[in-house]
Amino acid sequence: MIYKVIAKPEFEKFIDALVKENLSFGPRQVDTDTKGQPIYQFKEVSSATDIAFDYTTTYSSAKHFLMPFRENLSHFSYTDGDWEQEITYEVKPIVLIGLRPCDISAINILDSVLLNGHFPSPYYLARRKNTFIIGMDHLPLPDCFCKSLNHHTVTSGFNLFCSDIGDSYYVSINSSKAYNYLKEFEVQDPTYDDDCKLIERRKLIKQSFKTDVEVTGLPSFLDIEFDSPIWTKWGDKCLNCGTCAMVCPTCYCYNMEDRPDVDLQGSSRQKQLYSCNLVDFAEVAGGHNFRPKNGDRLKYRYYHHYLGFAENANQPICVGCNRCGRACLADINPKDVINDLRMEKESCMICISESPDKT
């Protein structure tokens, strides 16, 4: 990787030039919440002034640019009682600006699931290849816990990554395309001072985390605690709305649906992102539901996120952004659920053995 330092006004000029030439998305304030705090989303931007560079975090993740909520996988056109299937992978190149390290880590995880599995997804690849990513670090929110999952820094998956070191950005350049673009602007090689500032910045970020979720040995906990009563406890709170999966940067489960064209001369096979908390997620034809209870479905989501699946070499897919916790209408968040699960094991309330003394 090549490192450069660029002054903030110069960086804005660079972003402005890039944004004006391309279909670009960056963080913009869209609303304020009940406490008067701004709500940010990745929205289309047409100049650098549109972008809120100092944003906290977006409500939804950036995954929807690579996996749209609804995506046409193929189209059938009907002719004389027969049909023809057409598949295209044409996508418009896009620029994503201001992604946080956890967002980029999430994309890396999606890459490993969707591009390295048994059947790589050409749809995802087409979008991924045509996405230019500029990342930016930030100070964590009080409920961010990406440090616990080691996703507070990122070393790959972006074209350009900017660390804020006061008056300028310390830029990690990870692609020749990005390097060529930056050539046109005034950039310096990092000095010893800049390096120190970067290290200080990283330290500051690391020390600013207020939420810590203990994930050591979590896969084993989850495996043992499959029948734990805590799943019923949290499941009873769950409203099965699926919001957590919609805002999650790594949830990728989906549903398939055929939608007839308006003129009835064809139909599209559409992929639609889904949530494992929705009631019919595992319901088969004939009406049998393999996960009938709220707790079953909630547990399954935690299993997927912290135990991982075979497609992903059994790595946890949660990046610790806590978007699901923030969005949850029933106040369910990973920190509380996992801590509850661990408590249950570390000082069991029902079983006979006492907890070991704290040293």
């Binding site: 048994h118 045509n130 055929d258 079953d296």
Partner: protein, 302 residues
């Protein structure tokens, strides 16, 4: 100054022109392209089930479509959707694919309206298969409950094709009512020509039913099991797995010699949609055929 991110026209990559070969995993291909088929014959079996015979139109695609007993495919009905169906035909039949389908959801409902000659598409084959070679020179017990006979027909045809390589083959088949019994027209052939020891039972008999009534486990009293030399293949509703596999376990058949085929909701067949997850395993990629030991280790499998 031009800072345009170039569009890499992915359609120009070679995979887009090729016929997808689902045997060749981890390669980039048109994963949602189906092989177009003509429905060559529709055999009504019961009120709820029909046997569909399909021929893949394109000869190259027909050659690509080779499967192993126990695998399944995704059946596409354009305009209505896609459903996972177990392959019910002989692996040596390269001309036609047979699918035994129950009218259960909205796609299968539409399929039941289809006439001979209609075009549908299939993707696949997907999933794991019964280890038929491993079972050679041994006894085999096939246990089917209800529609569970559909995926068992492929291993049974395999055994019939290689009958001299297998010792005693028992087939236990149970349904709720006599009218739900499938493939009754083949029973005589299986018994007389293929020397399959076939036992049938229904849960609720009708006045004209002369056979046995009761649960499928009742049939075990009629056969002798040599646990040292027997493999079992079980397919049916989840409740049946438990009773049958527990019984066979007590008889001393090791768990890794009992094979079951699981049913789950599926939307892709390729380990992507996650709808068919059991524990942390995909039914579509690592299954649908699992040995009973794996099933016991998978949470919430049965």
């Amino acid at each position: 100054m031009h800072f345009r991110v170039p569009g890499q026209d992915i359609n120009r990559e070679p995979f887009a022109d090729n016929v997808p070969d689902f045997h060749y995993q981890s390669s980039l291909m048109q994963t949602d392209k189906g092989y177009k088929c003509r429905i060559t014959n529709i055999v009504p079996l019961t009120e709820q089930e029909k046997l569909f015979q399909l021929r893949i139109l394109d000869p190259d695609e027909r050659n690509l479509f080779r499967f192993r007993p126990g695998q399944f495919l995704m059946l596409q009905v354009p305009g209505y959707g896609e459903v996972p169906i177990s392959i019910s035909s002989s692996t040596s039949n390269n001309e036609q694919v047979e699918l035994c389908i129950r009218k259960a959801g909205h796609v299968t409902n539409v399929l039941f309206e289809a006439q001979k000659g209609a075009h549908v598409a299939i993707r696949g084959p997907f999933g794991s298969s019964f280890p038929m070679e491993e079972m050679m020179d041994r006894n085999v017990i096939l246990v089917a409950g209800g529609l569970g006979i559909a995926p068992l027909r492929a291993p049974l045809f395999w055994i019939n094709d290689h009958r001299d390589r297998y010792k005693d083959v028992h087939m236990l088949y149970g349904t709720k009512e006599p009218s739900q019994m499938l493939f009754t027209y083949q029973f005589e052939e299986w018994e007389k020509i293929n020397h399959i020891d076939l036992h049938t039972i229904v849960e609720q008999g009708t006045p004209d039913w002369n056979g046995r009534t009761g649960m499928i486990t009742k049939l075990f009293s009629e056969i002798d099991i040599d646990p040292e030399n027997t493999h079992a293949i079980v397919c049916g509703p989840p409740v049946m797995f438990k009773f049958v596999c527990n019984y066979l376990d007590k008889q001393g058949i090791p768990m890794n010699r009992m094979f079951v085929s699981l049913e789950r909701r599926m939307h892709c067949g390729m380990g992507k949609c996650c709808r068919c997850m059991v524990g942390s395993t995909f039914t579509c990629v690592d299954g649908p055929v699992f040995d009973y030991w794996s099933v016991m280790n998978l949470k919430e499998a049965i």
